[in-house]
Amino acid sequence: MPKLLLLFISSAVVNNFVLARFLGNCPFLGVSKEIKTSLGMGVATTFVMVMSGIVTWLLNHYILIPFELEYMQTIVFILTIATLVQFVEMVMKKNTPALHRALGIFLPLITTNCAVLGLAVMAVRENYSFIETVVFALGGGVGFSLALALMAGIREDMKEDLIPEAFRGPAIALITAGIMAMAFMGFTGILPS
């Protein structure tokens, strides 16, 4: 149990997907202008990450490995993720149309969010067990949402600030992300080495 908790903390904050592993940076910069939409994006991505973590683990262990098809991993994983995203979009459109409108074009973009595929590939390379994969995915999703929401909060505050013209928009967001990454490096001490 402590091992799983450590894995969760590691994937959520210490090795934060966005700020330490550089995964999922496109939505991190693209959807972080308002806290509300960023939270929606975070929840949708976390859900897709956990689901795809589960499905890719099962596919890998019960189909790819027994048939020695490991070289097909990239193709199989990305197709699984694309299907899942389509499914989430359909559910969202039906049940929460307002959120669906707000997330707009970014929802299909979860497919190309490298945090999702990265998670599936990393879980395979690290040889995680089923339960470890689920915890790892959940931690990754929470970490992604956390970074996204923090960034959105900072950017909402910055809206009124006087920023040099050339730095407006993505440039200042990147530098902010750098400073956030520095702060997140402080969490390294939590984990026993």
């Binding site: 700020l19 330490a20 592993r21 550089f22 995964l23 999922g24 940076n25 496109c26 910069l29 693209g30 070289y71 097909m72 991993q73 990239t74 193709i75 994983f77 990305i78 197709l79 694309a82 299909p108 973009l109 497919t111 190309t112 969010n113 490298c114 999702v116 595929l117 990265g118 590939v121 990393m122 390379r125 040099p164 013209e165 050339a166 730095f167 407006r168 993505p170 440039a171 200042i172 967001a173 990147l174 530098i175 992300a177 750098g178 400073i179 990454a181 520095m182 997140f184 490096m185």
Partner: protein
Amino acid sequence: MAKRNLGHEFIKGLWEEHPNFVMLIGLCPTLAVSTTAMNGLAMGIATTFVIVMSNILISLLRKVIPDEVRLPSYIIVVATFVTIVDLALKAYFPDIYRLLGIFIPLIVVNCIVLGRAEAFASRNGVVASALDGLGMGVGFTWGLVLLSAIRELLAKGAIFGYTVFGEGFHPIQIFGQAPGAFIILGFLVALVNFLNINAKRKRELKKISDRTLAA
């Protein structure tokens, strides 16, 4: 006219629609593998191969693929070429393969590749699509090499592994780590913005002075 347009398909990826600095896409590999100039170059070449090849194939298939299933089809095409790169690097360049790690399979989800397929290759001819892909790939590569050279220089005092600064240089570790990547990319984006804003102002000034002269 047609010839000039083809040239433009190539050129636009180098500056005007530069994937990293202007369009702000494909940032994850840019930030992650830009620790040394050599890594940046290897990643740039691998990605360029995937963009060009998938642009060509998608352009060839654009009349065959039904509109409703186009995205999954593009993903399969891209994933196929990524698998080729993955296997080839593993076999011939194991060192590079180890350094780039999971970012090789992640070329599949590099927004540049799918973005070019959807925005360009799906509605243009083969030659134009190949040039568009090449331009974007070369643009991505020079952005990546520039960023990684700056980071390598600051964090290790070297470029492409060759020491630039002598004994007295104190390496600034932070630029080799995550925060440094974000901060330097931020400054590069700002620099490109600055140059573009200035160029635009100059063009407008020239237009006004031309008009006054004509009058």
